[in-house]
Symmetry: C2
Subunit: 345 residues, 2 copies
DNA sequence: CTGAAAGCGCTTACAG
DNA sequence: CTGAAAGCGCTTACAG
């Protein structure tokens, strides 16, 4: 490599470029600004400056721009856990759209904890970005209003529990499809003992999915004994634990609805280990349709969500908000869910 | 929520705090600085200022700090593709360690393309961060030296093809274990027709894994016909395509080594669809040991890497570099690989 | 079409 | 122990 000394070079500033090109800093700034200059610049000057920029290897300092200017060219994302495959298509889509706009993306995990969700807001307050896309499990309209008032950030969120008039929202109508799926289990497959592995009751998404399950059971006149509702934490491991509990009951269920696919996959794995056949002895339904749902055997019957689509809607709306009006009324994207029948139920 | 008007509030500055507390801005800065002040501050002043900070709801502007001060409190990560599960434990570990240090993390995908790797460097040059952790497939020592010279950023990288004297490196000795695995296939399992699904030859990691495969085959006196080496692109889909090609050969292989687990999973899926039994008709070995390797049936035989461990080593070294000396000599972490025999071979 | 100057919100020598 | 002042590298009215 020759040198690899890595002595840090003095940073080339806009002032250096101006001097070398024999123009003022204002002129250089106008030529290099990402927002087109309001005043004309002679083509000759422009070329001269651009040449010098190349020669000196000048790169604008984004922090100085942030301080003086309006745009930070950065957006933030808050998801629950980068380890859960459900979020990847969404993250990836948002990243791609952001890069097309010349933006970088900062990512934080909330781990479904309100404390960490607030830490994210705190971080955005210290280092404001132009927009954020979040999947809030605990943050409410007031929290988001606070953040907007403090930072002026544009916000897009997943979840129809967010009703703030200036926050764009994408969500899946999971209540309806959940209800259909449980009904299918009861009426098409003849199950009468159906259990559910949920997560913390307070999550709006659990309220909806669990509510749908109860409604379907009640309407069919089927009991839901309390021991049929086991709480997990979205992880594979929690699915493994939950199914052990359920199968150890004196009167175990013949079907289980899981709050998401990773729980369902964990449940299937342990059920098989314990000698149960899926779906003959115990049927399993997941939620999300992550790619892994098609990799496991039996293939997972699940309710598909379309996270890439949600990411796309929210990212596009976000950049319209960033470039257009911060105060545009909220847009709501209802992305459909689909019940996908495979082999596990 | 009451208001939800979201009119943006005038930002509270350090100057506002100073005025309200009847002290100078310098004093406020000394009290709020994350690096302990070199001069003493009276406890009374400190309390007065901290009270005002709370009252006014002041939050320091990180961009102003970046401009004037030395630390940005941000690190960057470059991975190939956030969609590949292999990277998640590493990303997650780095994020966690970063947050413990009060740092945020910016993430970019290279998609294994040199062009996007250079775009990442460009982005870091415009918006310098204190450190980066990267998995470079194309960037070389010269590229990294350039980046260091321009920005002074601390660097940690995955891959022992990086030899820069000031870049910490973590890598897995995959050549040795790859060689062992192929040997096992030949000598313990009696395979003579062993194929490999690789990715672009130019990736150092392919050079090593493919080299190990060839060496084992040659030493056993087994031929490697050119049609036994099929190129994929790390994705499940590329594994699906590759296995079709291989099984359509007049003299198809009885065993396949894949460059990673996602390729292997795609290959297994299609082999089964085509009516082949795994491992009886066609044995499959993967690489990485992503969690999904244990979810698929048959369970995937693979070579485990420990990405969380790599992330931990690199992140810790990075923060030592950030807080201590940028010019500390490079540290090399050899993280072991392990051949995990399950059911697919 | 171009330039001089103020100012974004901090940190940090320098002075007391 | 505290303050006044310079300056980080830009953008943007203001003036010509």
């Amino acid at each position: 490599m020759g040198k690899d000394s890595a002595v840090q070079r003095e940073r080339v500033t806009m002032q250096d470029v101006a001097r070398a090109a024999n123009v003022s800093q204002s002129t250089v700034s106008r030529i290099l600004s990402p927002v087109p200059s309001r005043v004309p610049i002679s083509e000759e000057t422009r070329q001269k400056v651009l040449t010098v920029v190349k020669e000196l290897g000048y790169h604008p300092n984004q922090y100085a721009r942030n301080l003086r200017g309006k745009k930070t060219r950065m957006i933030g994302m808050m998801i629950a856990d980068i380890t859960n495959p459900f979020y990847h298509p969404m993250v990836r889509t948002v990243q791609d759209i952001a890069f097309q706009h010349g933006y970088d993306v900062m990512i934080a995990n909330s781990d479904h904890m309100r404390e960490k969700e607030l830490l994210f807001c705190e971080s955005i307050t210290r280092r404001p970005v132009d927009g954020i896309i979040i999947i809030p499990y605990h943050l409410n309209d007031d929290d988001l209003d606070n953040l907007m008032v403090n930072t002026g950030v544009a916000i897009g969120a997943v979840g129809n529990h967010i009703q703030h008039p200036y926050v764009d929202v994408a969500y899946a109508d999971d209540a309806k499809v959940s209800y259909e799926a449980v009904n299918w289990l009861i009426h098409q497959r003849g199950h009468r003992r159906v259990a559910m592995i949920i997560a913390d009751h307070r999550f709006p998404v659990i309220v909806r999915r669990y509510g749908a399950y109860r409604r379907a059971m009640e309407e069919a006149g089927l009991p839901v004994p309390p021991e049929y509702v086991v709480e997990g934490d979205w992880s594979v491991e929690s699915g493994q634990r939950a199914i052990r509990t359920l199968l150890a009951l004196p009167d175990p269920p013949t079907a289980v609805v899981a709050a998401n696919d990773t729980i369902a996959i964990g449940a299937m794995e342990v059920a098989e280990e314990l000698g149960y056949r899926v779906p003959e002895d115990i049927a399993v339904i997941g939620f999300d349709d992550i790619p892994e749902a098609q990799w496991v055997r039996p293939r997972l019957t699940t309710i598909a969500q379309f996270p890439a689509e949600m990411g796309r809607c929210l990212a596009q709306a976000l950049f319209e908000r960033i470039n257009g009006g911060q105060d545009a009324p909220r847009r709501v994207f209802e992305v459909p869910c689909r019940f996908v029948i495979r082999e596990s139920a």
